[in-house]
Symmetry: C2
Subunit: 260 residues, 2 copies
Amino acid sequence: MPPNASTPKTLKDLPLYRQISDSLLGGIREGLFPVGTFLPGELDLIERYSSSRHTVREALRVLEDMGIVKRQRGRGTLVTSTEARPAFVQSVRDPKELFSYPENSTFRVLSEGKIGDDDRWPARIGHDVDRDWARISGLRTLANGSPFCWTDIFVLPAYAPIAQQLGRAGVPVYEQIAATYDETVASISLEICAGSLTGARALALKVDEDTPSLVLYRRYCGNGGRLFEVSVTEHPAESFSFALEFNRGWQSAEHWSWSK
Amino acid sequence: MPPNASTPKTLKDLPLYRQISDSLLGGIREGLFPVGTFLPGELDLIERYSSSRHTVREALRVLEDMGIVKRQRGRGTLVTSTEARPAFVQSVRDPKELFSYPENSTFRVLSEGKIGDDDRWPARIGHDVDRDWARISGLRTLANGSPFCWTDIFVLPAYAPIAQQLGRAGVPVYEQIAATYDETVASISLEICAGSLTGARALALKVDEDTPSLVLYRRYCGNGGRLFEVSVTEHPAESFSFALEFNRGWQSAEHWSWSK
DNA sequence: CTCGGTAAAATGTTCGGACATTTCCCCCAG
DNA sequence: CTGGGGGAAATGTCCGAACATTTTACCGAG
């Protein structure tokens, strides 16, 4: 427990419009502005927070993007929810962040297989890589109890040396692998990070913990957007987003079975 | 074919920032600003469009929300895609819009059943309604080839008279049904519209075309947000969003089987 | 050649003001 | 009681300006 319990972890100097949106969200959750009612008008909020209209509107826009309120011209700002719509599109700079998920997230192993066994993976995958790929697992991710995306995880133990190198430098390995997969498809991104699996993930994938591996995440989110923009390198511009051809039948029920 | 082919359907007077974002998007698609390059700086755009920075930034925000560009402080505005991330969260005022999907959308029937046969539907559903519910079908919706959401469609032929009434007035029927389902769960919305199914949908649901029916759409999108806010009434504030309890196992593979 | 600092460039944040458009509600005429 | 008009209220659009923060690139000292 931190010494000063009342201060959030990163209070710092949040922008004013973020402070206002946080304040309003707090009021919504405390029942000050119940769902179904309208928030005070913008001019009212300007007085309450001694701010400008632009800043207040920016705060309201944050809440709207979160799915908390819905603004309607001529009517007002309607409170529609107390919980934010999960924002899964985010950028990560550190591979560790790939393992951080929203709270209350759980994972379930749906299926396992070996690359090549599966009609999901057409000939596009290089045959040399094919031999080394060890394991595929489809994970269904549940955020707050609701499924929101699928994650296919490929572990390449044979690439352990490269993985260690990737942990430090990154770029060369990326380019090496990027050359293999040079086709890009929207809304599917292939993500790479080096590390070792631990805990539930290692158990699910039946990989020894702490075994250095090159892990490729292929994520698909129903929203159609890239779930992550991986920037393990120091230069975010070089974040790779090469992708596999998306087999439209890849999620047919034959492939998915609950392991319970 | 329209008489004047070059004019969009609703040119009207788009806001300036929308005109700018459209112009920039056009340039991106024409190759003026290829994916991976940076857009001109904001000050540059201000000169090009003889506008203010606020308006230019608003235009860039539109593109960012579309997933076309990614803005990075201190670096610039990076072009990341030529195609917009599907924006499925929208409001509809006319029930007919519920039938309008993004272009290139297709539907596949995944399973059929009768309400009550399924553990997905707990006792929360009133038994009187239970008898009248005729058909359930789960549709997987593919937008531009990518699955993005599931739609459960319930057709209630027994409600045909009410459906016709709903087609005109709307509100009373809403209230009548809303009284039955009074619990609200986030991210799941039950949507109602009256009409008749035609074409592929009628075929998929094995319902005669043009049979007046009360159709309930229960949509779930991986994004966690309501897919539609249905406002068939004249007062959007009364748009109904009552919902069913979300059974977390409802998408287990046992229930989903491809019909091919 | 490497490291460090510094300046330039780009987006982010904030303020102030003005007018446009939509919605809602009251009131009055019929 | 019904319909329409008009005003009030609320959000949307747009302009101008200033400073803050981050990133990049350059350049000089060692």
